[in-house]
């Protein structure tokens, strides 16, 4: 029996990444299903069942029934945003029951999953991910995680007062330089660990890897965190071509982390070395596409349509 291929897009259609992928795929010979899990879990009735022998099954979403074999790929944009509520009161998003749903749902879906759940969670701990990144060949900045004010102060001195601090988890935070004015605040560390890193001067690169395709943007800015440009500061973003060796390294890093789509944050030091700060596992690539004209959304759509990476063999199987 021949099935028309289905592609699942998990996330709100108002999300620019879901929107562009959806737009590109509407021109292709496939059926798109957009699953927006902004409502609490029991209000979007889904059921996924697997057969006893072989992997046949049905994915039900409302009144729709989709044979599992017909699902070619899935793009997950808002994996962490499934909401559950209990008698009108919203549960914490990291509630164990809530956490249980998504890994099983994504794990049971066949075909290419962009990105697989466990791999997508790797940046829930930046130090965890950095250790993996180091294993995969990139240098990481000298990093201290501490609850001890004196240790942070000592690190500040050891790094010649060139230190940044940022969140340890995937919680979005603005990367800031540690300054003399911050030192009295270090006493607050005793309540919760904080991550400090040596400040590495250089030029920022955001590298998007889509399967085996690489899209690199170079960012020049006078701000510490190029995502948040302060008043009287500048930011220029342009498309660049990385060396083939570095491209291969970025593809290997993506694959090594179990990802299909990645947004890699690199900085080129003044001696030409590349330091990797982190890998975004659900990158907001449209910001870079709008600045550089790179057709990242089209590449994502193409990979979803193909259902597998031809060259890198990243088929989720």
């Amino acid at each position: 029996m021949k099935f028309e291929p289905y592609i699942l897009l998990i996330g709100p259609i108002s999300d620019p990444m879901v929107a562009i992928v959806s737009e590109k795929l509407t021109r292709r010979d496939c059926t798109l299903v957009v699953l927006d899990f902004q409502q609490s879990a029991h209000k979007w009735p889904i059921a996924i069942s697997t057969g006893r022998r072989g992997r046949s099954g049905i994915f039900r979403f409302g009144a729709r029934k989709i044979p599992l074999e017909a699902i070619r790929s899935t793009y997950v944009r808002r994996g962490g945003a499934i909401v559950q509520e209990n008698d009108g009161e919203y549960l914490r998003r990291d509630q164990p029951h809530h956490q249980a749903l998504f890994p099983n749902l994504l794990g049971w879906l066949p075909g290419l999953v962009m990105n697989p759940y466990r791999a997508a969670c790797s940046n829930g701990s930046k130090p965890y991910q950095q250790l993996r990144i180091t294993q995969l060949g990139f240098r990481m900045p000298k990093t201290l995680v501490t609850t001890v004010p004196q240790a942070a102060h000592q690190f500040y001195i050891e790094c010649q007062e060139k230190v940044i601090f940022k969140s340890l988890s995937a919680e979005r935070s603005v990367v800031k330089r540690l300054t003399e004015e911050d030192l009295p605040r270090l006493d607050q560390l005793q309540c919760c660990p904080v991550q400090f890193q040596e400040y590495i001067p250089g030029i920022d690169f955001r590298v998007h890897v889509v399967g085996s395709r690489v899209f690199a943007s170079q960012i020049e800015t006078s701000s510490t965190d190029y995502r948040y440009v302060e008043k009287n500061h500048f930011r220029n973003i342009r498309a660049v071509e990385l060396s083939s060796e570095l491209q291969e390294k970025c593809v290997a890093l993506t694959k090594g982390l179990g990802l299909v789509l990645a947004g890699i944050d690199l900085r080129r030091t003044f001696d030409g070395d590349y330091v990797c700060f982190e890998v975004n596992t659900s990158p907001a690539f449209m910001f870079y596409e709008s600045q550089t004209g790179q057709r990242i959304g089209a590449a994502v759509a193409e990979l979803l349509f193909q259902g597998q990476c031809v060259e890198s063999g990243c088929y989720h199987s």
């Binding site: 006893r52 164990p96 749903l101 049971w108 829930g124 309540c191």
Partner: protein
Amino acid sequence: MMIILFGHSNDPIIRGVRSELEAQGHVFAVVDPNDAVFESQLTWDVGSSWNLQLNPGKGKAVEISGSVVTAAFWRSQFPLSPSTTEFWSSQDLSYMAKEGYATLLGLLHGSTCVIVNEPIPGGRSRFFFADYTWERLLEDHSIGIPEMCLATSTTGSTQFCQEVLGKIRILPLGSAVSQKAFANPMGLSDWNYSKSPLCLQAIAPGEWFHMINVGSEVRGGPIAPQIGYGSFETGVEPQFCPSPLITKYLTLSNAYDLEFSESIWMQDEYEQWFCLDWNCVPQLHHWGPAMQQEVLPLLAHLLAPKV
């Protein structure tokens, strides 16, 4: 040389392992993960060394250097719970819980010591063996899985029940910890789906086993079929288990990096083995007394420094 037991001191498994380690003369510390990140002095030079001072400024301060830790046993669950005070808003507490999680996940991953049940990003799912990732492995080792359904509504659950043959086993997706949730096991419409989605399994007749592994040591025994609501609370005692079952069980526990876990298996009338359920956080009260007596020393032995 030191062993760290990450968990709550009241946890029966922690208490049991602690007694065994004490009896064997090993140096160890029971560390509540919340204390480790919110109530201690932690200094971690990522990729290199770490130092933890528990109860700083108090009478019984304990200092642990990562370089002397030979083994760690992760016996806790996320999310963490920072102690609530009037100073912190719920957003602050949520942020702190995530930062604490990120710290411990990284610290354990970066440690060079033996880690029993190392936490992984995103956590471990109860029905991981049904993931497509494991399809090839299951095929290669002739491990079957039952027809299963994950449902977030009564409609999904009842449709599955109407379409499959055999008896139905019902499990809340979120937790293998026993909850007497069903007044009537077949009352699918009574289930509060906002609390947890359900996993339903269509079960053929067969012989059931409850298995426990501690490293490569496996203990287990036959149990009564768990039709209706299924949990791990079987009172299993160590008995003879067929060697193909032991091999299949170890294959999956090794593949999933679980040094200590429990699992439910079934062999049908055609002698096909099926993996039905997996608990990554085994509970002492799930087993009979003889099993408890066997497992705790094995766990202590697994953690003890190897000379």
